[in-house]
Amino acid sequence: MLKIRGLKKSYAENEILKGIDLDVKKGDVITIIGPSGAGKTTLLRNITTLESADSGKIEFENIQGDYSALTRQETKKLRQSIGFVFQNYNLFNNKTALQNVMEGLLTAKRMPKQEARTEALKALERVGLLEYKDQYPVQLSGGQQQRVGIARAIALKPKVIFFDEPTSALDPELVGEVLQVMRSLAHEGTTMVIVTHQMRFAQEISNKIVFMVAGRVVESGTAQAVFENPRAERTRQFLAETLVQY
């Protein structure tokens, strides 16, 4: 469904992404892991055009071409068929939970208000926040805010949702509720690409793991393959360092 080839990105002199390939099929739950500074977040932001990649090919739906040559129309189309969940939630502070979810439906999809409301309520129900629909972001806990962020993404019925470290800004006791929502999305067959440091969670829900170091994919494969039989020495080392903490 989504095919990325040779994605590159540099900031000033630093090449953060040194040519990344990624294939996402319908129903995939792909988790990108790796040490900090590996370029995981940068990869997500470049795939989704939040930042403009220097070069690299994309194939997605009927978009085909190079990132450096995407037209405005194509960018718009791409953004409309993907969802994004931010590390810092990035909720619209002047809108209630319900309005946050409705916003994209009203503006980008030009849905009539009543219909948008119905859709938004459905999305809020899926993340278990129906009774918080009229709260403003400051009145919600971090975990609740992130669940609204997820509701905002799924309401638009995207083909694939990208999660950029969705739990790293949360206090430990609030991580569980967000992971639970993601788990249920995965079980419903939602296509997801996740960057996270929650290794056990990654192992549990992903059908594919991508391990990145210093702007390159070092290893990728099924969760079982990567976690239990890592081939690359670097992967083994990383897993030994991180898993020991859990």
């Binding site: 990035n90 909720l91 905002r152 800004a169």
Partner: protein
């Protein structure tokens, strides 16, 4: 001691000037708002030429006393206008010159207020907007602008108070505001202290009333900022968001 009968007389006479003082403040504010908003955008988007002009304008107006601005406008504008519409320019109600000076003055401070207010809305919300498919102008209108206006309100209060205080110099342009009336009464009866004490009270009342109005506006429009529940973790979250902002700043250019 103080002549209270006279003070009452001044109070009665001066009240006729209250609408004039309020008019100066309100009209100037209403004229200054759209202009300064455009100026702030010129600065924020570094529009060639416009950016430099606004910078110079703000620096000059904020670096010179209002009295100098009054004297320049009051001496230059009538003859400037006369070269277009002839002698009738000198018959124009002087309150118009007051509008011009105080608008020019307020625009400078308001530009800075709008500029910083528009910058306070964090970039993350803009990104979130693009990811739900909103256009830049939709994000600006529906997300950034409403929040910027609310965060500008406290400074808007200060600027309005500044306008009230500056308006006390309108008498120099022969505008019949409360100061002008009190001054006339004072000079006529040769009782200065009494007249100015009364005048002072008028300014305090007007200022406090303005402050009260703005405070309630802040309360009403800022309701989305109010936390109902206690959030013991808010500190930590702020720390995190600050560090991530820093990390991303090179990418934002």
């Amino acid at each position: 001691m103080l002549n209270t009968d006279f003070m009452l007389q001044v109070a009665k006479a001066t009240i006729k000037g209250v609408p004039v003082t309020l008019e100066i403040v309100i009209v100037s504010l209403i004229l200054a708002l759209p202009i300064s908003f455009v100026f702030a955008l010129l600065r924020l988007y570094s529009v060639k030429g416009g950016n430099q002009f606004v910078k110079l304008y703000v620096s000059f107006i904020r670096g010179t006393p209002i009295i100098a601005q009054i004297l320049i406008v009051y001496s230059a504008f009538p003859s400037l206008l006369a070269s277009f519409i002839g002698k009738s320019a000198f018959a124009i109600d002087p309150i118009n010159y007051a509008y011009i000076v105080f608008t020019i003055n307020a625009v400078a401070s308001l530009t800075e207020v709008f500029r910083s207010a528009l910058q306070t809305v964090d970039r993350g919300q803009y990104e979130a907007g693009t990811m739900v498919g909103m256009t830049s102008s939709q994000i600006f209108r529906r997300i950034i602008l409403p929040q910027a206006l609310v965060s500008a309100l406290p400074n808007l209060t200060n600027i309005t108070l500044g306008l009230v205080k500056n308006s006390a110099l309108a008498f120099i342009m022969s505008v019949k505001d409360i100061t002008a009336i009190a001054k006339t009464e004072a000079a006529f009866n040769y009782s200065f202290l009494e007249a100015y004490l009364v005048l002072w009270v008028y300014y305090l009342i007007i200022s406090y009333a303005a402050e009260l109005i703005f405070k309630s506006l802040e309360l009403y429009f800022g309701r989305y900022r109010k936390q109902v529940k206690k959030r013991h973790y808010s500190n930590k979250e702020q720390l995190i968001s600050v560090t991530t902002d820093k990390r991303r700043s090179p990418a934002q250019g």
